[in-house]
């Protein structure tokens, strides 16, 4: 099976490359990549779930907005996620259920703080294998 995501080095910041057989998988893997940078994904249990809805201008912006939504939820509500079920996805809107648990300093190690997902060098491509996206994060 093809890997779900990879981490990209960038001098001041860091990037993620996400893969997916379809767009839903791509969006889910991008979110996984984000939380793999924030914490050890294995340390997170699916104790709670949160339904999120994101609307945007176009598909590329939707990807950036989706990650920014998750960054906001983590920074304001201190919830860590490690599973994302994308229930519906159009070119400018998505609905997802995210599974995870409240951040617990005794249990979870926070590796980096992410300020935002950016539009910089943003790419969302498709080929025979499916979809591939590159997003640079400001950390």
């Amino acid at each position: 099976m093809k890997e779900a995501f990879a981490i990209l080095d960038h001098t001041a910041d860091i990037g993620i490359i996400a893969y997916g057989a379809d767009l839903k998988e791509l969006f889910s893997n991008a979110a996984l990549a984000l939380f793999s940078l924030i914490t050890e994904l294995e340390s997170v249990q699916g104790k709670l779930h949160l339904d999120l809805g994101v609307r945007s201008e176009d598909r590329d912006s939707l990807l950036v907005d989706w990650l920014n939504e998750l960054i906001y939820v983590f920074d304001s509500k201190h919830i860590l996620f490690n599973r994302f079920d994308i229930e519906s996805l159009t070119c400018n809107a998505l609905k997802a259920t995210c599974y995870g648990e409240d951040f617990d300093p005794n249990k979870h190690k926070i590796k980096i703080g992410v300020k935002a997902a950016t539009y910089h060098m943003l790419r969302l491509d498709t080929d025979d294998d499916g979809y591939k996206a590159q997003i640079i994060l400001d950390i």
């Binding site: 001098t11 980096i112 539009y119």
Partner: protein, 485 residues
């Protein structure tokens, strides 16, 4: 990443031009301040391309400027300066960055190294305890929504009014610690939710608190005006910004401006450069929200400075006044400011974007604080934790060449991943300890990302701006104790 293949035109040993015809769409040339040696590392990434891209911004004046600590950013390069005409030019949140009013504050003391060295360990522990730092840290400042709105309008004064600091601190802060035009109604609930619990926290990443010792004084007359008089004198440097509030404001407004770009018929080579006319509703809304984040950052550094004074007082058993803990200055290095500048002999109102660049106003400028009227505005240039930091002053040349701007620090050379692969955090701490620098960090592994090897040598950076005449170096200090978030 591939090397930049363009050509620089050498103006002199410290100035390199990217001509306007390098790329169709550039409205002005690019100008990079660097030594020939530094130019090689600048060329290694596509950073000069970013300088050229910034030159696309409508209304940009003079040059798309880059300081010697320039490195690859998102959209704008870090170390970039762009001034746009407020009449027909744009404002771009990318030209400020996510950490709005990230900046540095310097406190002096009347202590010398011999008095502090034996207590560094205790001081670092007290500072670590009293100044909340690290990821997910929440502050001791609890505000209601109404108080948060006041904080965003009043800035550092908000903290001083609550007994966290002195009136004279405000005189020694850029803009008096309060940028006018702050409009909390342009700040989203989300930004407030992220920012409210984080007021009065240092944060993480490259933010720090350092106890330093003066090693060299280059201009004793100017240094003495700042209260820096002796080799061995102890200083404290605070580096932080507007935390989640600024990050969310940037995210929110970039999204709005992203959509405005096509409406205003603006052609940009990079979506992250999203902008809108300064005078447009979108532009004004961003500036109103940005000022809120700028003020929050000044309040943040004000609170932290107060707790630094308390920590020293607690460990050394004397009042902050007895310890001579006065503020030298506080500068922003991620901000957009509306300023008056002379262009071809005419005074024009411009929007100066400084992203990883510091204001450097000369002696006699109306915005240079009274106590520095004769010497110029202090410029604070932190280096990495293993090397040194500099204090400089602004010059008339900066006014005429760089819209009163200069460098802001060392500038990254290695990506965080590359730094981590080659260096271990525990080794960094041990190596620094062997050189008399005590480090306490929220995350030891994160220390590797901030190791000296990951940064350019700040000495080279300051030498370029000094030789080019856009600031004048005054003193150099090295750390003996460091707190990393």
């Amino acid at each position: 990443m591939s090397q930049w293949q363009g050509q620089f035109i050498k103006i002199d040993d410290y100035r390199w031009k990217i001509p306007e015809n390098y790329k169709t769409g550039m409205r002005v040339p690019g100008l990079i301040y660097a030594s020939e040696r530094m130019l090689e590392s600048i060329r290694e990434e596509q950073t000069p391309e970013q300088v050229a891209n910034v030159a696309f911004l409508p209304g940009i004046l003079g040059y798309s400027l880059a300081m010697p600590d320039i490195h690859w950013g998102y959209g704008f390069p870090i170390g970039g300066v762009a001034a746009t005409d407020t009449k027909d030019g744009v404002v771009s949140p990318g030209g400020v960055g996510y950490d709005i009013n990230c900046g540095v504050r310097l406190l002096r003391t009347s202590l010398n190294e011999d008095e502090v060295r034996p207590r560094t360990d205790q001081l670092i522990n007290a500072l670590f305890h009293n100044v909340p730092s690290g990821l997910g840290s929440e502050g001791k400042i609890r505000t209601s929504q109404k108080e948060m709105n006041q904080l965003m309008v009043e800035g550092a004064r908000w903290a001083v009014k609550r007994g966290l600091g002195l009136e004279e601190d405000l005189d020694a802060t850029e803009e008096g610690g309060c940028l006018s035009g702050a409009d909390p109604s342009k700040v989203s609930d989300r930004a407030v939710k992220r920012g409210m619990p984080q007021a009065g926290t240092l944060g993480s990443g490259n933010h720090f608190l350092e106890i330093q010792v003066v090693k060299e004084i280059f201009d004793s007359q100017i240094a003495s005006v700042m209260g820096i008089t002796d080799i061995g004198q102890v200083l404290v440097l605070i580096h932080t910004g507007s935390r989640g509030l600024g990050h969310q404001i940037c995210t929110d407004h970039l999204r709005i401006l992203e959509q405005a770009v096509s409406r205003y018929g603006i052609n940009l080579p990079d979506r992250q450069l999203a902008c809108a006319p300064v005078e447009s509703r979108e532009g004004q809304d961003y500036l109103g929200a940005m000022a809120c984040a700028a003020n929050y950052a000044w309040a943040n550094r004000q609170c932290i400075a107060h707790w630094v004074r308390e920590s020293f007082s607690e460990i050394l058993g004397k009042s902050p006044e007895k310890l001579g803990m006065r503020q030298v200055y506080d500068v922003a290095h991620n901000i957009a400011k509306i300023e008056e500048h002379a262009i071809n002999g005419r005074s024009i109102k411009v929007c100066v974007h400084r992203k990883g660049a510091t204001r450097a106003f000369p002696a006699g400028h109306k915005d240079t604080p009274k106590r520095y009227k004769d010497v110029g505005q202090p410029v604070l240039v932190p280096g990495d934790m293993g090397r040194c930091s500099f204090v400089a002053v602004g010059t008339q040349k900066a006014m005429s060449e760089t819209f009163g701007s200069t460098c802001h620090g060392a500038g990254r050379m290695l990506s965080r991943g590359a730094a981590k692969r080659g260096i271990r955090g525990a080794d960094v701490a041990r190596e620094l300890a062997s050189r008399g620098i005590l480090v306490k960090a929220g995350s030891i592994s994160a220390l590797a990302e901030e190791a000296s090897q990951a940064y350019k040598d700040v000495t080279e950076v300051i030498d370029v701006v000094h030789q080019a005449g856009i600031s004048r170096k005054v003193a150099m200090a090295t750390p003996i104790g460091v707190i990393k978030g």
